[in-house]
């Protein structure tokens, strides 16, 4: 079987009995542990054997009888910030290192209902704060496109991107068929680009955030990472469901078109995607190239790829026009104020009182927990304030603390108007820019931009924090506006690293975005990308 068979192909083999669920799952574990246990450090924890065996058995029994579950037996990785019942959920942080939720996030619940087998929880930047998946409490994720030491050459380890780096690397390495990530400012798309997978962030509100441990509530968007667009469509169709009982920001997938009379009719993304594949072609779409994304930091290979995509579309009769999104350059600072403001608030529940890590007196402040038998004497509490301070100082990593402090500052009485309020105004202007392009005279359907200014960078490469933040410059605007956006891998750079473009469409036109992504990925120049095996797996 093809290394990167899609879900419907795998399902077909399982239905026909050519493949057993047990073999499918066990093969994944063999791959994950090839070379060393959890070779690329893509996972923080794995489903325990007993539960896994039961799920495999039950799934196989369903296949033997004829299953109607759409993801039955399909191995999926879930980012470790989605709550999973009985399975440790750490958010990549020491403060939740032993936290086991008593409930499933809506995403996990929907996957389980369709028979998916969640094999483990993927590694990430702590609390999703980062663009490299190196900041977490559980070590760095290794990009599968890293270069192993060959002929005495030093091995070169690359970052997987972040914060959903574990999810991206696991799918690129075929450790699981698909994975779930969350995207606050590019956390699905940027690692997808670095690892060479499809990363799809739907319109804000379409997938419920219930159970997703919040980073920045108004930006956090659950999404999917897959090896092809068909699988993304399949998963989105399972996950897009209004969840009004648990999440007030959850929305129905309905029409965005105000002139349409059937405005409130519930839509089916998979059906509409398939219809478009059948009846539409590239000529039905208007593509826009925002010149504001042409920044000086842009890598040459990526610039060339961007140009190549435009040429290929035009060659096939597609319409491509230059557009302007003039407030793009303000999006980055606005994002870092808004995201950190919300984070400073959302993370205040991690106080050591009710769950997770709590600093105990006598504990070494450098991190390792104490308890060397000296706790026989009655512990007189250290006092509430002290407990808070030490718990949070010890429990959070450097990047998280940095962002909490930045957000706390932005919300403080003396800076609120200058920072938070101004950032909100910029957010509106950025949204209006997009609206103008999608709903104004030009009626653009899809914007094409690079996903990130460069391919994956080397691990331990010393980078200026501002430079790291700039990594998110292409992905942030669509979070601010709540737009669907996806990254599609198309080629390898000269240095043999995957490079991608990002597609953005108007709110609630996620089906159109899938269609465009599928169409471009299947251009002759790009369709062979998936046949290449990442270096580090060879």
């Amino acid at each position: 079987m093809n290394r990167l068979a899609n879900i419907s192909q795998i399902r077909k083999s399982l239905i026909e009995g050519k493949l057993k669920v047990n073999d499918l799952i066990q093969n994944k574990f063999k791959e994950i542990n090839k070379g060393s246990v959890n070779h690329l450090n893509t996972f923080i924890s794995f489903e325990d054997d007993k539960s896994l065996d039961r799920q495999i058995r039950e799934s196989q029994e369903r296949y033997d009888k004829g299953t109607n579950k759409r993801l039955d037996g399909i191995p999926i990785g879930v980012k470790d910030n989605f709550s999973s019942k009985s399975l440790k959920t750490t958010c990549g942080s020491k403060i939740l290192e032993n936290y086991i939720p008593s409930f499933d996030s809506t995403v996990v619940k929907l996957l389980k209902e369709e028979g998916a087998i969640i094999i483990g929880k993927t590694n990430m930047d702590e609390f999703s704060m980062g663009s490299s998946s190196t900041s977490g409490n559980f070590g760095s994720v290794i990009n599968p496109w890293s270069k192993p030491s060959l002929n005495n050459s030093e091995k070169e380890l690359y970052v997987a991107g972040g914060s959903s780096g574990g999810s991206a690397a696991a799918v690129a390495s075929n450790y699981c068929v698909a994975s779930i990530g969350s995207d606050t400012g590019g956390s699905i798309r940027q690692p997808s680009s670095y690892c060479g997978v499809v990363g799809f962030k739907p319109s804000y509100g379409l997938i419920s955030r219930f159970g997703l441990i919040s980073y920045a509530s108004s930006l956090d968007t659950p999404g999917v990472l897959t090896n092809n667009v068909e699988d993304a469509a399949e998963l989105l169709d399972v996950l897009i469901k209004k969840d009004q009982e648990n999440d007030s920001t959850s929305l129905e997938f309905i029409n965005n078109n105000k002139n349409n009379n059937n405005n409130n009719e519930k839509r089916n993304i998979l059906k509409e995607f398939n219809e478009k594949l059948k009846f539409k072609n590239i000529k039905d779409l208007v593509f826009g190239i925002p010149k504001d994304y042409l920044i000086k930091e842009l890598d040459e290979d990526i610039l060339n790829l961007w140009k190549e995509v435009v040429e290929e579309i035009e060659k096939r009769g597609g319409k491509v026009i230059p557009v302007s999104l003039p407030h793009t350059r303000y999006a980055l600072p606005a994002y870092y104020l808004l995201a950190t403001s919300e984070a400073s608030s959302n993370l205040s529940r991690f106080d050591g009182v009710r769950y997770g890590y709590r600093y105990e007196s006598g504990e070494n402040t450098n991190g390792s927990s104490g308890g060397d038998g000296s706790n026989e004497t009655i512990k007189v509490g250290m006092g509430l304030k002290d407990m808070y301070t030490k718990t949070r100082t010890n429990g959070f990593g450097e990047e998280v603390k940095k962002r909490i402090i930045l957000g706390t500052m932005a919300l403080s009485r003396s800076s609120y108007d200058n920072f938070y309020t101004k950032a909100q105004k910029i957010r509106r202007l950025v949204s209006d820019d997009f609206k103008q392009v999608f709903e104004g005279e030009e009626k653009v359907d899809i914007l094409i931009t690079p996903t990130a200014p460069s391919p994956a960078f080397k691990q331990n490469e010393k980078m200026d924090p501002i430079e790291v933040y700039i990594n998110d410059i292409m992905t942030i605007p669509s979070n601010l506006a709540g737009l669907p956006a996806c990254s599609i891998p198309l080629k390898l750079s000269k240095s043999n690293l995957p490079i991608s473009v990002q597609l953005i469409s108007n709110r609630l036109t996620d089906d159109n975005l899938l269609f465009a992504a599928h169409t471009i990925m299947n251009f002759d120049n790009f369709k062979d990308f998936n046949s290449q095996i990442p270096n580090y797996l060879k």
Partner: protein, 536 residues
């Protein structure tokens, strides 16, 4: 709560007892404080924040049970993952709480904000699981409104409401059950609160006492909160300052966590006294601070200075969309609201020619007013279709029944209007029996208390008959008794004719004694006059 005493206390000014040094004075219809030491006049300014728990089955943002402050529930037994702020859970607004806030807003004549939203207020404390309280700072659900107060001396005083905001209650911290640990009970965490914020429109502690009672009563009347202060369903924070008339307002001090209307009134008196004493001493300076009130010493004490307060870092809660309320919904709730206490009072006074005092007592509890009105016209065919006498009903209701409620410590009138005690059927039957002369009013009271005590749930008539208490209206029997009495007391008869009226009462009393109170006083009256005149 004390039905009978409630109003009296305000009227008698027990609530704002004056102190040795400071006296309440009224000049040109306005309230002032007078310092006896210096003879100076001071003006008191008070603003009040009332927190009332919404009367809803579930909490404000979760579906765990709102048990209010009911005792007897195991600690942390009514707590959802949302209430305890577990990672990843999100608030979902309980529409019933919104309805209660709208009802309250309409009842005070406020404007319902068609577009309001929720803000987060941040501070760290063990009984605040999220690390922030969800509240409404910028755009609260209700703006404006007012409450009209009637003071003891008959003056009216209007208090304007600034706004009502919906917010979460916190949990409870318990510091005295463990030698080294603080315990936390989150049963209360997340219950909906309506914070009703007044303007600084109070100029005497009496006004504050009136306001709290009035508000409490209003919330109960419309059913938006049970508003029992002793259960913490209603709590008050008070801002207080003093200044000389026609000068700028003084520095305000906040008094926190008062648990009864009485405590609030005394604490205001005490704090005003402290501030005036300070200002009249050499210090002449009040610092901005938050103070508590010690019930035992009757003094306020320092809790924290305002400078110590944390920056709450308010910002709009990104987990909650704006709260948009349609005009249709507001109108619908308006229609369902029914008659408000003040309107009811006006109507009762007009319709039944009641005194202001009686009407005020009746509307203390909607169920009492309802019972009163029912008693007038319930089952009238027993009574030749004539409406029952309002005065007589009021006598029973406001004197006898209220005093029985008080002596039995019953606060819920509704709880006694049942088959075994005081159903409307039994009460009106009793009234009719008195009206028909079957029993005297005095016997009627005896029967009423028997019914209230609930030991015998038979009908009033059966109760009377089984005890042989029906009134003696037999003319010949009474005739004999009166004639004999007059004959036996010639000395008293002479005194009577000399004009000593109290002798008449003696004769009346003797007959009542002989008939054990069962004789019809009207008949006895006529007979006495007849026989006394014969002896002239």
């Amino acid at each position: 709560m004390n039905y009978l005493n409630k109003i009296n206390k305000v009227n008698n000014k027990l609530f704002y007892s004056t102190t040795n040094q400071i006296k309440n004075v009224v000049i040109d219809n306005k309230d002032y404080l007078k310092s006896l030491k210096t003879g100076e006049t001071w003006e008191l300014i008070v603003g009040i924040e009332v927190h009332a728990q919404t009367k809803t089955k579930e909490k404000l943002f979760s579906n765990s049970l709102n048990i209010g402050s009911m005792e007897g529930f195991k600690a942390n037994s009514r707590v959802s993952f949302v209430d305890a702020a577990f990672p990843g859970v999100l608030p979902v607004l309980n529409d019933k709480c919104v309805e209660q806030a709208i009802k309250t807003g309409l009842a005070i004549g406020g404007t319902i904000n068609r577009y309001s939203f929720f803000d987060r207020k941040h501070y760290f404390y063990q009984d605040l699981p999220q690390g922030y309280q969800i509240t409404q700072l910028t755009e609260p659900i209700v703006k404006g409104g007012s409450i009209e107060l009637e003071l003891g001396d008959g003056r009216q005083h209007k208090v304007r409401i600034s706004h009502i905001q919906l917010e979460q209650d916190s949990g409870k911290s318990i510091h005295d059950l463990h030698p080294t640990k603080s315990l936390v009970d989150l049963n209360r965490a997340g219950i909906g609160l309506m914070e009703i914020v007044s303007h600084a429109d109070f100029t005497s502690s009496e006004q504050v006492g009136c306001y709290i009672q009035k508000l409490q009563h209003l919330l109960k009347h419309i059913g938006s909160s049970d508003a029992n202060m002793q259960f913490g369903e209603m709590r008050c924070d008070v801002n207080i300052s003093v200044h000389k008339p026609n000068t700028e307002f003084g520095t305000r001090v906040e008094l926190k966590n008062m648990i009864s209307a009485k405590a609030i009134v005394s604490s205001i008196d005490s704090e005003a006294r402290r501030q005036i004493n300070l200002l009249e001493s050499d210090d002449k300076k009040i610092s901005r601070e938050t103070r508590g009130f010690n019930q035992e010493t009757g003094e306020t004490y320092h809790l924290r200075t305002k400078e110590d307060e944390v920056d709450y870092r308010f910002f709009p809660d990104p987990d909650l969309p704006p709260l948009i309320i349609s005009e249709e919904r507001i109108n619908k709730i308006k229609q369902q609201l029914g008659e408000l206490p003040q309107d009811m009072k006006k109507r009762l006074i007009k319709q039944y020619s009641l005194t202001n005092y009686d009407a005020e007592l009746l509307i203390q509890d909607q169920s009492i007013a309802k019972f009163f009105e029912q008693s007038i016209s319930f089952n009238l065919n027993n009574n030749n279709n004539k409406p029952r006498d309002v005065k007589k009903i009021l006598n029973f209701l406001l004197r006898d029944i209220f005093s029985w409620l008080n002596s039995n410590n019953i606060t819920d009138f509704k709880s006694i209007t049942n088959e075994n005690q005081l159903s409307i059927e039994k009460f009106t039957e009793l009234l009719d029996l008195i009206e028909q002369g079957y029993i005297s009013t005095n016997i009627g009271k005896t029967i009423l208390f028997q019914m209230l005590n609930g030991s015998d749930n038979r009908s009033p008539k059966t109760l009377i008959d089984s005890q042989g208490l029906s009134q003696i209206s037999d003319d010949s029997l009474l005739d004999q008794l009166v004639q004999k009495l007059v004959d036996d007391h010639p000395k008293e008869v002479i005194e009577y004719h000399q004009g000593k009226q109290r002798v008449y009462k003696f004769f009346m009393g003797e007959i009542m004694k002989k008939t054990k109170g069962r004789s019809n006083p009207e008949i006895v009256n006529n007979l006495l006059k007849k026989y006394l005149d014969l002896k002239k």
